[in-house]
Subunit: 431 residues, 2 copies
């Protein structure tokens, strides 16, 4: 029987091994939350305060007491009720922490010290992982933007002239970013069908989803100092699945000229586990191609491993509507890269703060069965979607549940799970 030590301090750590590390944890080889994943979230157990944990298999590693046992000062950031203090520490700290967590879960000699801090997932309540600072939503799928253009502006070119020159984005409401599982109250508002003379007020009749990837940002910058493309990774901490609930009728009436507002701001759901960009290294893929070449500040450069700083991500999505998978979008089809979005966001000198969140925009591919919103999937309501129970849908009905799931290739033939992001539609509240 191996000797078991007290927990090591960070300073004493070994570098992460380059092959799949064996672990003393009882994990299936194909567990999407295996030792290559290790996403961060915020959890509580009955009677305890929310704090930071790492998911491994069906358990949650309670980081703060582990770090306290090891005499580490970083325990403090993991006692926080959000990931923000940890995000503030920056990329170097994130990498060290990942190496330390990997080490204590891999090295059998730490087993006795760690096991008391592994809690069954079924015993914990998850919380919103970040206090969202600024929330920006991009529009990075050429297929989605083209489809929406055809539907919303049938008399114009599908893509606006700026679309291939810059990643179009807008600010959303950070106060209504909610955790997966939160009920979505059908929003009321003004809508005006093209044939009507005046708008009417009432519950949205065209309630939709948008399957997106959400990027969680860390570190901070000074006002006036852009983040160049080759340093964007220093601020990209990780990803969540994001559902940008959208009321298409409210949006269509309000969005010219200043963009979407109430059609989006009633709720945005995110999955509870933030999968780190480090866990997604094996999922990096080249972009599908950018023509015309973007301006210099958005142009990728070769990295040490022969890839580009403007990389895409090979993430598979599943959109489930009342138990029926109705679409399988693929993130590798996205036109603009994560680093390009972050760099564009700051090129005017805007700061980033720990807890900033930006969405990719709807993940849609070229084929109908890869469209990431129901506006596209039902082609604005003209082509109903058949569910497993034989019923048909165009937009969301009260009581409908949507679950988004996603996963990516891991470094050793495994899959990296992003978990799921779900929500159920509740009836509008009439004033």
């Amino acid at each position: 029987m191996p000797r078991r030590d007290a927990l090591p301090r960070l300073a004493a750590m070994q570098p992460t091994p380059s092959s799949t590390p064996p672990t003393w944890l009882d994990l299936a080889a194909d567990d999407p939350f295996g030792i290559d994943n290790l996403p961060y979230g915020v959890f509580s157990t009955e009677g305890t305060a929310p704090r930071v944990g790492v998911r491994v298999g069906d358990r949650v590693l309670d980081l703060a007491p582990c770090a306290e046992d090891a005499g580490m000062e970083s325990a403090l950031v993991w006692r926080a009720e959000t990931l923000n203090p940890f995000l503030a520490l920056g990329a170097h700290a994130w990498r060290s922490a990942r190496e330390w967590v990997t080490e204590i879960l891999v090295n059998d000699s730490y087993r006795d010290a760690v096991e008391p801090h592994l809690l069954p997932l079924s015993d914990v309540t998850m919380h919103l992982p970040i206090a969202v600072a600024d929330y920006v939503d991009f529009y990075a799928s050429e297929h989605h933007a083209s489809n929406v253009g055809r539907i919303f502006r049938p008399d114009s070119e599908p893509l606006t002239p700026n679309w291939k020159h810059l990643p179009i984005g807008y600010h959303g409401r950070s106060g209504t970013v909610v955790l997966s599982g939160t009920d979505i109250v059908r929003p009321c508002g003004q809508r005006k069908p093209p044939t009507a003379d005046a708008p009417t007020f009432g519950a949205s009749q065209r309630l939709d989803i948008e399957a997106e990837l959400g990027f969680v940002v860390g570190g901070s910058t000074d006002l006036g100092e852009p983040v160049p493309l080759d340093r964007a990774d220093e601020h990209l901490f990780g990803v969540v699945i994001l559902n940008d609930w959208s009321a298409r009728d409210i949006q269509a009436w309000e969005y010219v000229p200043l963009g979407p507002f109430l059609g989006k701001s009633f709720a945005t759901s995110i999955s509870p586990w933030v999968v780190t960009m480090d866990a997604l290294r094996a999922a990096r893929v080249p972009l599908p191609g950018q023509d015309p070449a973007p301006l210099d500040y958005l142009r990728g450069a070769p990295t040490e491993d022969g890839a580009s700083t403007a990389y895409g991500l090979d993430i598979d999505y599943e959109v489930e509507w009342n138990g029926t998978v109705v679409s399988r979008p693929a993130y590798r089809d996205m036109y603009w890269s994560p680093a390009q979005m972050l760099t564009h966001l700051t090129v005017n000198g805007a700061t980033v703060r720990p807890g900033d969140l930006f969405g990719s925009g709807t993940v849609s591919g070229p084929a109908k069965e890869t469209r990431g919103c129901f506006l596209e999937l039902s082609w604005s309501g003209q082509e109903p979607v058949r569910l497993g129970d034989g019923s048909e849908r165009t937009f969301l009905e009260d009581g409908d549940t949507v679950v988004l799931r996603a996963s990516a290739p891991g470094p050793h033939g495994t899959r990296i799970g992003l978990g799921e992001c779900s929500g159920t539609v509740r009836p509008a509240r009439t004033p």
Copy 2:
């Protein structure tokens, strides 16, 4: 000589008198920061932490130690580094606090206890008064929206069809809201003149201001629960002068279809003193008129004093460019009321949080000399503005300083000062 007591607890307070209260403070009758104003801000003195203060004349009342001397629990919220904890307490607490502050500044028997906590304005450093939660910018001036429509979309109707049916708004970047006096680095970005084939990258050539009123929001609501118009005042704490710095060339290229983004997000300045809505009661005026009548949820109702819940505000602005007053916009010309904006913002069930901030949009009147931005004032650069030194301007040059000032009628023939919001343009930083 009157007897002087220790400070009273809130419970022992008298109602605010209905005529101008005499005060033991040495204040000129026309001081814009007289006893009828009492705005809140966050200040520090050398070697001390930022905390909440009230401005009276050229002095700052250090609230926390006053409240501590009086044995009040509310001292805690005034020890905070932002107004947010105080804002969280809601409208009832704000009113009680205002009555208490008035009482201790008016009643001579508290003079000895209060005077040690009155600090000269020249000895304090001001800080951003709120941690901005969500920042929304409206577009509530018909004159501004019409002028911008004529300039940006010369081939269309000046106002979009939705404009008179709803207060158009969009979310801005809360992380780049800065205090008056903060230097503004000229932003870089993409711009494409209509005659060019492709966009180019560089420093904005059309840097502009927007003279706005910013509304500071307090209290909080539950997701899915709109704030009806007749309860909007419960969430409207006060106002600041707001300068929505705008890069018109960046904005023009990016804003279709999802609205302004980098053309606005580099900086938004606000004045340091939050003037409460209570201090602006005498400045309430009827709106200029709304035709067509808005939908029910936006329609004002008569209040006890015969006014409307959808009231306007009689605030005079002064826009000073390098020392020359170039415009005098009037807030009473605004089409949409503060309560209508807040109600619209939440009608879809979006929550409000303490520290939310919304801007009115540029305050512009019908006459040229009342236009609140340089895009309008110079008619997109075609009509240069002459400054006092004989120089001419269209948009901002490096080194230019803009100061916005504002004031409103007070309850006793006095003026309520909003102070000023200033910024100086610094050269772009080239990557």
